[in-house]
Symmetry: C2
Subunit: 339 residues, 2 copies
């Protein structure tokens, strides 16, 4: 109980509970009484506002989750993992979207300083090139945890999956299914996870003496459909494709359907994806599935360790492995015919 509330109650001859309710703008209190209480509270410099109390306690009870997008199923599931922890701790989760725009990320991160939120979980837009805004946050008092997409230049707590191994396993699976011309679809940029996946893919191909073929996609849908259409009509078109981004993998499906290229008979496809309905696609999609919920949960748990227990978690790194789920899109015989 605040001393000020008691004082206001005494001075205005009101019950403490009435003042408290008036200050929290309860509908139980008349507008007239509220006005009296607010006016007097203002004179005492008592500000009945969640942020006023956050200024005192240094706690907003908000955490920020900064994500590239929510249309990607990985992120929409990861949010649930984060919230499962935050809710238990009595914190509000605010989701901010960067839409893969570094300027937007910079502006959001700037806003995350100075008391607006108590901690930040982020899956970054860029890689190591532009990270001053992250470094500024890092050197402030706001705990910062990376998940999935990390900025390697900043050594703070992180939760990742085994991207190198996942890239290797995906390529190995296609090789075992008889593919000879395996392409890797990536987004240009210097995202560490893309590099790791690509490194794993390249190693698997080198181990078998196969040619590496990395295709950089556009983030504009129309441009990318045209690019894929072009690639899939070439005489030496890939007989195996690894889509490192969910959206791009769906575009490969769209183009194959349009061009009547049979999956998996003519081209086999694996996607890095957390699509719950991968099994319902035509044909069902083989995925490398990241542990999205677990990663979100682990990241939030690290953040609260820093927030509540004031522990230094900056050097903690948690790796949760991904899983290959084989389905019809990479299968050679029976399974594919059945579906």
């Amino acid at each position: 109980m605040s001393v000020t509330i008691k004082k206001i109650a005494k001075d205005l001859h009101l019950a403490v509970s009435t003042v408290s309710k008036a200050l929290s703008d309860s509908h139980e209190i008349s507008a007239e009484t509220k006005a009296r209480v607010f006016e007097y509270a203002a004179r005492l410099d008592y500000i009945p506002n969640p942020y006023a109390s956050s200024l005192k306690k240094g706690k907003s009870k908000n955490i920020a989750v900064v994500l590239p997008e929510v249309a990607d199923s990985f992120f929409s599931v990861a949010i649930n993992g984060i919230e499962s922890v935050a809710q238990e701790k009595g914190y509000h989760t605010m989701v901010y979207l960067t839409h893969e725009d570094i300027k937007r990320e910079q502006s959001i991160i700037r806003e995350c300083r100075n008391g607006r939120v108590d901690g930040v979980l982020i899956s970054v837009v860029g890689g190591n090139a532009q990270h001053e805004h992250l470094r500024d946050l890092y050197t402030s008092e706001v705990p910062l945890v990376f998940f999935d997409r990390v900025c390697e230049a900043i050594e703070t707590a992180r939760v990742v999956t085994n991207d190198y191994e996942s890239g290797y396993i995906a390529a190995k699976h296609l090789i075992e299914q008889g593919c000879k011309r395996i392409a890797f679809l990536a987004m240009r940029g210097d995202l560490a996870i893309t590099h790791h996946r690509q490194d794993g893919y390249e190693q698997a191909l080198r181990d078998k003496g196969l040619d590496v073929r990395v295709i950089y996609c556009s983030d504009k849908e129309e441009e990318n459909l045209a690019l894929l259409r072009d690639i899939l009509q070439q005489p030496d078109r890939p007989d195996g494709i690894i889509g490192s981004i969910e959206k791009v993998t769906m575009q490969v499906y769209t183009v194959c359907h349009a061009l009547h290229i049979a999956i998996p008979q003519e081209v086999k496809i694996i996607g890095f994806s957390h699509l719950q309905i991968a099994a319902l696609l035509n044909p069902s999609l083989t995925t490398v599935t990241q542990p999205a919920f677990e990663m979100g949960k682990a990241a939030a748990t690290l953040l609260f360790k820093a927030l509540e227990k004031k522990q230094d978690v900056k050097h903690e790194q948690i790796v949760i492995p991904s899983v290959l789920v084989p389905r019809a899109s990479t299968h050679t015989t029976i399974y594919a015919d059945k579906l």
Copy 2:
């Protein structure tokens, strides 16, 4: 330029820019100088915090978007529409998820009062039964706009689609494709949009003298799969299904695949859905597609009309029609065989 900053600079014999940077906790300023500035600023009751200035101006430059979930593609697209407007206005969009939990919605809405956000866009969890929290927000100074899922008991600005007509059109389409036993899958509760869709469906069936069959689904996945499995194994099983919720429609697909019930030959399916990859499903899914992006954009535009121009938008209602997109899941002949 704040008068206080000038005064602090003068009294402490510092440059104004140094004080300004110190107050925004810049890494360019030494810890010692920052401490001096903060201490003196506190004495002058000048609080260098975004919320402190928001207390003065009554503006947090945040808007809240309160949604049931982001795994549903409608909401993930609607967010983009909302953000396209908010960003242009220089506002931050904070996304809060209720996970279809009325208690969570109540707690979030409570937090949205008292200066934390300047306005609220919401797609509600419940219907008319429990809405005291929404009424409290409504009667406060925070502008409130409903989109898609409205609470009809509260007359405030709203952006909706033509749910009644959509339900009618979906049922009519199935009737035209020869279906006789058409089921409507709904969630129990008193969500207005579900009722309107259901009313439209029922009217279309009555117009043709067909029996109405509404099936209430569980929000627990396992329970619902068991329910659907049961219904689809009955001798009088539906030959047409309308899924009013995206998630449930995907569960119907899962059960049909598992039981080897051929879509569309044995059962035809329409989903209320905004899935971008509906065309890639096996078979491609006929959808009633809501204008998610446009609805989000229109809702945000209404909110800013109230926020910036102080216009009363409480009686505004915008209806943006949905579209039926026929695909293989309801087609009788050629198209279905081809896919």
